[in-house]
């Protein structure tokens, strides 16, 4: 990354740390400890399934909350508080600032996710499992979660360039939920006889990122292997959306009169 965005990214990460964002890890750790102790006592043979399912779901939800709620304030807060006045008097372009803010939040999410994954691994060790080859799918599932979080962050950042945090949150979550059900929506359109509905649902399907593609939690929990082709497909899929969203964000933001 070139110098300007990196400086902004590191500061964004520092802000998250000082705002005690990483404290969510404490909650996650307690959750894992509680779950590990509980399943150790009650279940026979499905400990791994329960722990992996719970752990990955928590990683995904915690990350989603963080990506949305920090993401929608990334740009908005700097405009509102006018911290951008001094920043933009430095030799930094507006898109460099956006990329820096984006990278800073993604960095925060990556570190948070890595730490939670270590917590999940510790819980698996606690319930007395040594790691096996099949556990690679847990790591792949975590990677997919990170891809989806990076994409959600890009969506939140895009909205935060021109609307209030509340609206941005609604828009971002709306797109996320629509994206989860994208395939169902198209399926519904295919069932109707209305050409309009068929068309509209297809447009939604192709426009909104299909977030279900990034969900391999079930496969990982059952120890199934995840095809490697899916890894690069998902990576490319997320990257295309992210790049387009960042370009759109900077197009909007670069023309904007600051408050």
């Amino acid at each position: 990354m070139s110098a300007m965005p990196r400086v902004v990214a590191i500061n964004t990460f520092r802000e998250a740390v000082r705002d005690r964002v990483l404290y969510n890890l404490v909650v996650f750790a307690l959750l894992m400890i509680g779950a590990a102790i509980l399943v150790g006592q009650i279940s026979i043979g499905i400990e791994r399934l329960v722990i992996v399912n719970l752990g990955l779901s928590a990683i995904s939800i915690f990350g989603l909350v963080m990506a949305v709620f920090i993401g929608v304030g990334l740009v908005y807060k700097e405009i509102e508080k006018r911290t951008l006045y001094t920043l933009f008097s430095k030799p930094i372009r507006r898109w460099e600032f956006l990329v820096g803010k984006y990278a800073g939040l993604v960095l925060t999410l990556v570190i948070n996710t890595v730490l939670m994954t270590i917590g999940l691994a510790a819980a698996l060790l606690y319930i007395g499992r040594s790691f096996a080859r099949a556990d690679v799918s847990i790591l792949i599932a975590v990677y997919f979660i990170l891809l989806s979080l990076a994409l959600v962050t890009a969506i939140a950042l895009f909205f935060s360039c021109f609307s209030s945090p509340l609206l941005s949150t609604l828009f971002t979550l709306g797109i996320y939920v629509t994206g989860i059900f994208a395939a169902d929506i198209r399926g519904f359109g295919a069932l109707t006889s209305s050409a309009f509905l068929k068309g509209a649902t297809s447009v939604v399907y192709y426009l909104v990122p299909n977030f279900r593609n990034f969900n391999s939690i079930a496969a990982a929990a059952h120890g199934e292997s995840i095809p490697f082709s899916l890894v690069w497909q998902n990576t490319a899929y997320a990257l295309i959306y992210i790049v387009l969203l960042l370009i759109a964000s900077s197009a909007v933001f670069s023309r904007r009169n600051l408050k």
């Binding site: 006018r82 911290t83 006045y85």
Partner: protein, 317 residues
């Protein structure tokens, strides 16, 4: 090459909640600031000074007109290496300490870590924040934020410094220190472009001033010429001697203020008043000229130029 070249800069804002109308905040402003001069941008509140600064910084975009800074167009971000900007009522990341904040800004100029450390220490000293260097900005007072703002504007030794109301929020000592900083910058050959609504600041510092009123330029030149500050009267503050009352002639003319008296009189009558005060053993505390305030000056401007109408309606949208 002029340091700053403003060519017909115009800015309309949409105002009103339901029916948006456009209001002209800056009207066809053209101005040149030479390199090495301290240039005062004068005008009462709402004149358009901040609007102009924000346009020059690329924070907002002009409705019409252009400007060049050091010969480069204002949307050329690389030119920002050579400028510093103190916004009006600056606000910073309050989770950082002053030292961290300045280090952060210095990074955009590409200094090495050692260079940044040296510069940050030096500039904190310069603006009088050395003792608060490691305090988080959330604990800063308004005056301290202003100082931090000046520090970030000069940390990279820019060729031009833009200061929007640099003295606001400062106590008399602070104002004095800021004046010294501005004069220092001039000694180092820098250009200072600062806005103020306080006439005396401009008088004391500026090589040239521009007067802005309701978005329109009303004059450019040396402060003495443009804002001819006529001394209409003198003011004497004095304290009667213990146990003495004032002679009726003096008591009639002077205004009591907290055990003291204030006497306003034409300059020609000054010395005879001294004699009267001496005669009754009163102590003179101060003698000062009563000046036209900038507000008076602008009132005069408006009266003298009735063809200048208030905010131009630039049509509806």
């Amino acid at each position: 090459m002029p340091a700053i070249e403003i060519l017909g800069l115009t800015k309309d804002y949409a105002v009103g909640f339901w029916r948006k109308r456009m209001r002209r905040s800056l009207d066809n402003l053209s101005l040149e600031v030479n390199e090495g001069e301290i240039f005062g941008f004068l005008g009462p509140n709402g004149a358009g000074k901040t609007t102009c600064m924000k346009l020059l910084m690329g924070l907002i975009f002009p409705t019409a007109g252009t400007a060049r800074i050091l010969g480069r167009p204002i949307d050329d971000v690389a030119m920002h290496r050579d400028i510093g900007y103190l916004p009006e009522q600056p606000y910073f990341y309050d989770y950082l300490t002053a030292r961290e904040l300045l280090d952060y800004y210095a990074r955009f100029s590409g200094f090495s870590a050692a260079e940044r450390r040296a510069r940050v220490t030096r500039v904190l000293e310069r603006v009088g924040l050395a003792s608060a260097a490691d305090v988080q900005l959330r604990k800063f007072s308004k005056g301290m934020l202003q100082r931090a703002g000046i520090a970030q504007a000069i940390i990279h030794d820019p060729r031009i410094v833009f200061l929007d109301e640099p003295m606001s929020g400062l106590d008399p000592i602070g104002r004095r220190e800021v004046r010294d900083i501005i004069l220092d910058l001039k000694t180092q050959g820098r250009t200072v472009f600062f806005s103020t609504h306080i006439l005396s600041d401009a008088e004391m510092l500026c090589d040239r001033v521009a007067v802005l009123h309701l978005g329109k330029l009303r004059g450019v030149g040396s402060p003495g010429k443009i804002v001819s500050v006529e001394v209409h009267a003198m003011e004497i503050l004095f304290e009667p001697a213990e146990g003495h009352s004032l002679p009726p002639g003096l008591a009639q003319r002077a205004m009591p203020v907290g055990g003291r008296y204030r006497l306003e009189l034409p300059e020609a009558a000054l010395y005879s008043a001294f004699d009267e005060i001496r005669a009754c053993n009163a102590r003179i505390l101060s003698v000062s000229p009563v000046r036209q305030t900038l507000e008076d000056y602008f009132l005069g401007l408006v009266e003298r130029a009735p063809q200048a109408t208030p905010p131009v309606e630039a049509g509806t949208r």
